[in-house]
Symmetry: C2
Subunit: 196 residues, 2 copies
């Protein structure tokens, strides 16, 4: 009965075809700040939302990074970076980090960032972020105009006031999700699926 | 001035370390329904949120799939699948698709799904989904307990009433985001970053 009712409604919708490169169909998705450091100790920061866990045991995360980016150069040099989880209050910071190149300006200084020390690697997190993951590069796989960086998370630090045993407390943690361009959103109401 | 004010607040937060396998730190993120078909024409469906665009030119998408899953078997056999974008109204459907194995039951029938025909591949989309991507398997890379499937999107179909030239119309498209377990959320308010 359930499926019959649903299907009667579904029959009304019409679909249109859009370009296969329209990646925004897979957005909104979390936006992160990636911090990297080169061999001379210079820090850089960029925004990225093409990031995903890909394995739990052992834990592995992938980050897709444009082949021409300074962050990619730094990570290939030192094999270390941090993924910083950010929220609504980091909206303008994240957009700026994602639209200015570290080749033309010292973004770390320009954005007034301060370091949160890492435990296992030499690259810091960003003070005030919701949390950050200490990542060590594991392998690199070519993927079109990007390189896919496989990384091993060595440690995860989260703000004590925002993270519970069930994950982020979304009443407090306004996790930033990127839609496209200047447009972002944050999680809205909580939905609980029926028990099996 | 901006950064000084921010940093003064940031200094107050304290952080705790959590296990490096705590992938939920990268959630909430979109939940999708992956449809696959084996050589005999049997359809299967599963839920996945470890999915990401990884290149725009050429377009490439990755999907992380457990090595023991039936969906992985089917995709390796026929090299085709669809990624279906779903919303709040697909909450229970998505949770069920993600918690029942296709080895023990015909999930397609159990869930009362109907086919939306694809244009280029033999695997259909799901009628009533917000949209779906026709995917052809490009390569497979091992990633811990999962295989990372690289796919070429051959066509994307979206519901005409939900998709605009700027992407999903989030006033209407309640894109389903997975938090963990039975908990999901949908995008809330729109945030616009300041112009540069």
């Amino acid at each position: 009965m359930f499926s019959i009712v649903i299907n009667r409604c579904w029959a009304m919708y019409s679909y249109k075809q859009i370009d296969p490169s329209e990646y925004r169909v897979l957005h909104p998705r979390p936006a992160y700040l990636i911090v990297s450091r080169n061999g001379s100790g210079r820090l850089n920061v960029m925004a990225a939302s093409w990031v995903s866990p890909v394995s739990e045991e052992p834990p592995l995360i992938i980050v897709a990074i444009g082949r021409g980016s300074l962050t990619r150069e730094y990570i290939l040099e030192t094999k270390e970076f941090t993924i910083n989880i950010v929220g609504e209050e980091h909206l303008n910071l994240t957009f700026k980090a994602g639209t200015v190149s570290g080749r033309s300006v010292d973004k770390w200084k320009m954005l007034g960032l301060e370091e949160l020390p890492s435990k296992y690697i030499s690259v810091p997190g960003i003070k005030g972020s919701y949390g950050f993951i200490e990542c060590v590069l594991n392998k690199v796989v070519e993927a079109g105009e990007c390189d896919l960086l496989f990384c091993e998370p060595k440690a995860i630090h989260v703000r004590e006031d925002l993270y519970t045993r069930y994950g982020w407390d979304l009443k407090k943690a306004k996790i930033l999700l990127h839609i496209g361009g200047r447009a972002f959103t944050i999680p809205g109401k909580l939905l609980l699926a029926e028990k099996k």
